[in-house]
């Protein structure tokens, strides 16, 4: 048995072994595709927004409401990520918004390669025109999607009132990397013990710079803040965040 690591080799140690120092992220391959995606979005003249939440927090409903409230300030399209079915893309298309569906077939998150496929599908769907904003609606999951850069410009994390205000404390990684925290289903606040203060305090303990919006896509409460955020994003076209990419 080897003295070095206890493996079952017949030699006393790995004398003829070679040690390589690497220091490279396990996500290096994903991150490199993500940088290409970001560049691709930029060339389309669009800003990409990655929406992350648990299943049922209201990502698709928020996008449907966004489509209803649009009055020519900006245009958008959606890359839908789900484990199975075309349902979300159909819901978005029914509102007159271009949408493509990526199904992961079981995987719990989108990765940059899947989104790259989504971009090409979307380009086919769009023809020549290009929207100012492209939403990537991630697979409903507050854990795994957080680790994967998809090439988005902004990351939005959502929690709905019925889920409870302890979500930022319980799923910190999703809040660490996000630019905006949206609390949805505010119309249900009277029926749940959800503390807005606790949710914001915990989110900011993890990420002091995170912006917060509270809204209800059902009643329209707070939607103007969301639409303002999107409007200002849609005008934010020239910022090149990937200058280090050759």
């Amino acid at each position: 048995m080897c003295d070095t690591c206890g493996c079952q080799t017949t030699k006393p140690s790995h004398q003829d072994s070679k040690l390589l120092e690497i220091n490279k992220s396990l996500l290096a391959a994903n991150d490199s595709v993500a940088r290409k995606n970001r560049k691709h979005f930029g060339e389309m003249g669009a800003r990409a927004i990655n929406l992350i939440s648990s299943p049922g927090a209201g990502k698709t409903t928020l996008l449907e409401k966004t489509a209803e409230l649009l009055s020519g300030e900006f245009t958008f399209a959606v890359i839908e990520g789900d484990i199975e079915t075309e349902r979300d893309a159909q819901r978005i298309r029914a509102k007159g918004i271009p949408a493509v569906q990526i199904t992961t077939g079981g995987a719990c998150h989108l990765d940059a390669t899947l989104v790259h496929k989504g971009i090409h599908l979307l380009e086919k769907e769009l023809g020549k025109g290009s929207p100012r904003l492209i939403f990537i609606e991630n697979v409903g999951n507050l854990v795994c999607p957080a680790a994967f850069d998809l090439g988005e410009h902004k990351r939005v994390v959502m929690v709905s009132v019925p889920e409870g205000s302890d979500k930022p404390a319980k799923y910190p990684r999703a809040f660490m990397g996000s630019d905006l925290f949206v609390i949805t289903k505010m119309d249900l606040l009277p029926y749940f013990d959800f503390s807005i203060d606790e949710a914001i305090r915990c989110a900011r303990a993890i990420n002091p710079g995170i912006s917060v919006l509270t809204l209800s896509a059902k009643t329209g409460e707070g939607m103007e803040g969301w639409m303002d955020f999107l409007k200002s994003e849609s005008m934010n076209q020239d910022e090149d965040e990937d200058e280090d990419v050759a």
């Binding site: 080799t9 072994s17 070679k18 690497i22 854990v143 957080a146 404390a169 319980k170 303990a205």
Partner: protein, 130 residues
């Protein structure tokens, strides 16, 4: 559950390097996983042990995980704090959510609150092969 994807990414990097260096087998793989990376160590180890059986090259590989301590930063004085040294009730295997469920005051200025400084790294550090 994304630990499986992470190990797949790890193995494709390791296989490429082993091929470049004409190695016959990989003996040891050292990774560094930060306290705020969101990686569940047991799931990562489990995925490693399951997936390595599919690869002749990796079948004898031993996994070593380096887990650096949590570093926090004060939002007011911007000084860094070593969570374990400053005894902020932080234990090495504590989930970040537990760390942030109670508000922590900065031990330097006593006023600011603390937030994570880095610690989300998931890195391949070393490979030993022959």
């Amino acid at each position: 559950m994304h630990e499986l994807s992470l190990v797949q990414g790890l193995f494709s990097q390791v296989k490429e390097l082993a091929f470049q260096h004409q190695a016959r087998k990989v003996i040891r793989i050292v990774v560094k996983i930060g306290p705020f990376s969101g990686v569940v160590m047991d799931s990562f180890t489990f995925a490693f042990e399951v997936l390595k059986e599919d690869e002749e090259l990796l079948r004898h590989a031993h996994l070593e995980i380096i887990r650096p301590g949590a570093r926090l930063c004060c939002n007011l004085c911007e000084r860094e704090v070593d969570a374990e040294k400053e005894d902020l009730d932080f234990k090495g295997d504590m989930l970040p959510g537990q760390l942030f469920s109670k508000e922590k005051r900065c031990p330097h200025c006593g006023k600011g609150s603390l937030y994570p400084s880095g610690g989300d790294e998931i890195l391949l550090m070393q490979i030993e092969m022959e």
